[in-house]
Symmetry: D2
Subunit: 369 residues, 4 copies
């Protein structure tokens, strides 16, 4: 059993512009860094190398997605606009800046997820983790949004469908923000189940409701699990157990892609959740088991957001240990503190939100014989 | 009416050691910055100057607290240890590092709060804001804790009692962490009411419970309001209205000191709360009104924690606008996003926690005739 | 005797764009900081405050220069372009970026130098130091150049001439780069002597030659002293003694302005000179003596470039000590190393360059009776 | 023909302590970064990857040097002290700090150079570049000095001698500082020629003189080429042509190791030299040609210092292009500016210093039949 691993140094070079938080500095906004700084992902990649854990995995290449691949998900007009912006950089839509010649980096990020999927489907690796920047799940067919330029995971899913003949795909997105782009792209596709666990009304503030369940002909193939701010390991693990896994069991996907955002982490500046490395570990374990039972083990983790440069590396290592089945030399030094937080247990109001979502999981479409 | 304002550039120089998050870098902890970086407070001070708002206030000096003043709160042994550590710097206790010759900066921070109190009590200013670093509310009589070296606010309260003959003082601490040091120092002092609003069991994980109500002869003078993670403007404002203000009304303080932590802010990496600049504004307004009614307006804000370098400046400006009664030229650019979050309303489980604390507020001691 | 001191926090906010060295990041240029980062000047200002040396000086305000004042030096077209750029920021000419709403900061920098001149000419202070960012000496009438937007010092000189009736002004610029803008602005003005000590052909590479001596009617009023790379304290002090002072003695200025660049410092990344804090101290002392003898002590230091965030603070303190005549509590910790460098002595090839320039000093115009 | 390439992410993690320039921050030294920051080398490694140039080379592993290998150069007492310091980190001697558990990183750096030598001597690769941090050439048998912990290059040379039976080795060190450690280690070894081109009396200030020519039995095997501050491409290329190459031709080494410091670069903050990427390219080309003629092409570049995070990447790419014989996609964007500097030509005083050193080159020992 081999786990594929993809990271490209260019992801550290993705340039979110001259950003200070969400804004260009100027007036009364002092110059500073964007929330989406290289450290938030580069430090995870660095820990994998420094700990030697990359030797436990098979390194796959990131290559750029082609125009043709982009156009499987995005509009021709959007691609034209991206190319026109590329020489100077700019905003691809709504808070989705990239720097001069930065389109290449977005292509590499999408290509990394695509190659992770190719690696798993071709049998070159058993499963895979693609650590990419920029993220992709907010990108919509016709615009970038929320630090996302190209819909990395969606493009990869289309490649799985069209180039590998994979019929049913589940995308499980536990980034703390709603996976609005993925949902929109597959809204009417009954063969792609999109599940999003996210903080209720964080971003985008007007989507991600349980009432959104899929378009005509694809009813039930969209499943939103909004959770109240403050949910920790207890609530997240329960949500995976009681909503995600049952949904997967009904859907019987041939491939599972996890939108592996880490901004539900307990020190994330944008999310307000309290997931520790142990929580990410247990959530991953559950999905790995489900993949083993349902999709022949075919499982790809594609990194999404996560803005705690301090803690993402340790959450990431926990996930990689589960994917590989190998214990690394790294121990999460924060865990001794975070595991005492009361949020290791579930609260009643979290249970309530999960049970509501669990009802929806029962309406996920089953395969047609 | 004049508001005093204190900040010293040396607070930007406070050196929390070679810290990476909570830890010294080494092994599998990559070098990085401590959560308590200069930007988290220096950017607030900078915005005050760049916006010209310092001209709306009276600048007071920070001067170092003397040994004698320190010893009103801390043990002689602890002061000796601090002096011995000073040449090289080191940890003053539990995660309370300071750099070479850094004791001077801790003395200036405590001295800044003391001078703010002196300014208000002498009538030089009507109220005051002391923006200081390091913070103070975790420091205990015999050791530093949690980024705090000296108990800034407690020393200032002792000065108010002993040098100005102020009898009854209320310290209202809305830093997201429990004000364990302040509580400990005044545990048996019925003349100092210490109120702490904080995230339930965040830090220290084993204190800040409602059951802690004060020592022998001072029953009811300690009031803890633990709130569930995820509480936002709605819950915080309600907690001030239903717990803090009634407690103050019973206690009838002659001086109110606010432990003005801003780590309950919605983008703080350590707290998990969702307070916006509008929430801090409304909480401040309530306390200002209470001071006007109860303590002859005598009110000092002493900065505690707050680790969102992006957002603290805008929360801080809102508080200063309330203290001065003057609108600045600065608008919080984030507010348009954050005000759509559902946490502007209170949730039932937050209401429940507040009502429990409200019961305790009724046991706060009233003045003895 | 009082020294005026000007610094404004907004100078730390000057935003040179999303710059990586001289370039916008993109392609094979990794995101990083511009050479002209806030730390290069902000750390000098910080040291002045932390050491308490600001109490030895009189703080003067920085106020924005008006359109009318700008137009005394710059073209109306250039001012129009600056205003048009202001909402988004952009390049004011050649490598002279500023951020959104950044024109205000450039106005404050020019206004700071103007106020320093006003303070000295009005007698409010004896002499003054204006620490400003952006710098000004490369800015030309119709465009920004080399990190300079407005010609700070030139505007101030025009104000001295026109508003205070000062007839003869000497501008002594020892920034390591050629003071091309200042030279151009006063090219035909026989009443302003512009002296530039700089590294031979560094920037602009095609100006700053000894052959440039002033325009029609102003022959000899421009004096360039190009020095070979590697010149240290020995050569610089000699150049001041043998060229600058004799030129000033001939010219008999009523006001001396020093273009106080610190990029001739021994650790500057852009200059290749080897001046230590002691060299800056001795150069300053010589000019202070000359001012005492020639211009009634009327002397203003206006900061120009200087890119060693580590060392500028200590060079700056040495200059301030000379201006005030007061020893600070700060010792340059680097001096023990740098004073052993052989460049504390002059080399023959440096002597040669100085002697060539000394010949020109003899042609500086004397006052007409 | 294949070039070996070694870089390890751990080199980015080397922790020079809580350093501000040369000093621990405290008192009047504001916290800041050490001159030897990760960016100074990590950005070179990053450019190699982002440009895809790593695919033109064969990646070799960095492995830790063993105690036994260290003891071939260093004293047992020094190794004991390093091990004792390792848990907390500390100063290995004189300005040679490392962080907790940092000895591993120093071992990896030395091991990287050793593996580069092994790769070349085994024929696995034709030549090699080891990009390492910390550097090594200042480390002496019994102590670290000047950012160097272990004598990377010297250990590798001993391995070449003892494990591969290489008799004669030349180490050509063009780091801007004197290679004092290397010189000391091989002072009495007539089979190792150590050549150091450096800025005259920069660091260490009391070594690197032409008069130092080797110990008893090894006269002429040490060759110092001190160059005056301000020397650029012209002088450096001439020094290689007129001193280094003739010395190599006399010595007839079987292996050449270049101490590839890049702090002679034109924007280095510590050096005062003016070498551009083109200068490093031409110097490398000359040594590559010499290796082809003299040592069967056996050539290893081991990175030493270099503190211009902006410019090192482009200097490094030029060297790699020469080693591989392949043009990369990267053009040095600074070159258009720097090539106009007058220092592309040699100055008479530089010529003089070179000619003095050339006389010494004639006394380099020739092989004994
Ligand atoms: Zn997210
Ligand atoms: Zn706190
Ligand atoms: Zn300059
Ligand atoms: Zn060096």
């Amino acid at each position: 059993m081999t786990t594929g691993w993809i990271w490209h140094e260019a992801f550290n070079w993705h340039n979110t512009g001259n950003g200070s938080g969400f804004f260009p500095p100027g007036g009364f906004i002092q110059p500073y860094e964007a929330f989406d700084s290289p450290a938030t992902k580069g430090r995870f990649a660095a820990l994998v190398e420094v700990s030697g854990f990359d030797k436990q995995m098979k390194r796959l290449d990131a290559t750029e997605v082609t125009d043709e691949e982009i156009l499987r998900v995005h509009t021709a007009d959007y691609l034209r606009r991206l190319k026109a912006l590329d020489p100077t950089g700019g905003d691809a839509g709504e808070n989705a800046d990239f720097g001069p010649q930065g389109l290449r980096i977005a292509r590499l990020a999408a290509g990394a997820v695509a190659n992770a999927v190719r690696g798993v489907l071709s049998g070159e690796v058993s499963n895979a983790y693609a650590l990419v920047r920029p993220a992709g799940h907010h990108a919509e067919p016709d615009r970038g949004r929320g630090y996302c330029i190209l819909a990395n995971t969606s493009i990869a899913a289309r490649i799985a469908q069209e180039d590998f003949g994979i019929k049913r795909i589940a995308i499980v997105d536990w980034d703390v923000h709603h996976g609005n782009g993925t949902q929109k792209i597959f809204w009417e596709d009954p063969n792609v189940l999109t599940v999003s666990l996210h903080q209720d009304r964080l971003y985008p503030v007007d989507s991600g409701f349980r009432e959104e369940t899929g378009g005509p002909g694809a009813e039930g193939s969209v499943l939103n699990v909004p959770l109240p701010a403050g949910t920790g390991d207890g609530g997240y693990v329960r949500a995976v157990e009681h909503v995600v896994i049952p949904a997967l069991q009904r859907f019987e996907p041939e491939l599972i892609i996890v939108g592996s955002g880490m901004d539900a982490a307990v020190t994330d500046p944008l999310g307000r959740m309290m997931v520790t490395s142990d929580g990410f570990r247990r959530m991953s374990r559950l999905v790995i088991q489900a993949a083993a039972e349902l999709s022949g083990g075919r499982l790809v983790f594609a990194h999404e957001g996560g803005y705690s440069a301090h803690y993402v590396p340790f959450c990431g290592m926990a996930v990689l240990e589960e994917l590989t089945g190998v214990k690394s030399a790294v121990d999460d030094p924060y865990l001794v503190f975070f595991q005492n937080y009361p949020q290791r247990f579930i609260e009643p109001w979290q249970e309530e939100a999960i049970q509501q979502a669990a009802l929806l999981a029962r309406r996920v479409p089953v395969p047609v014989a």
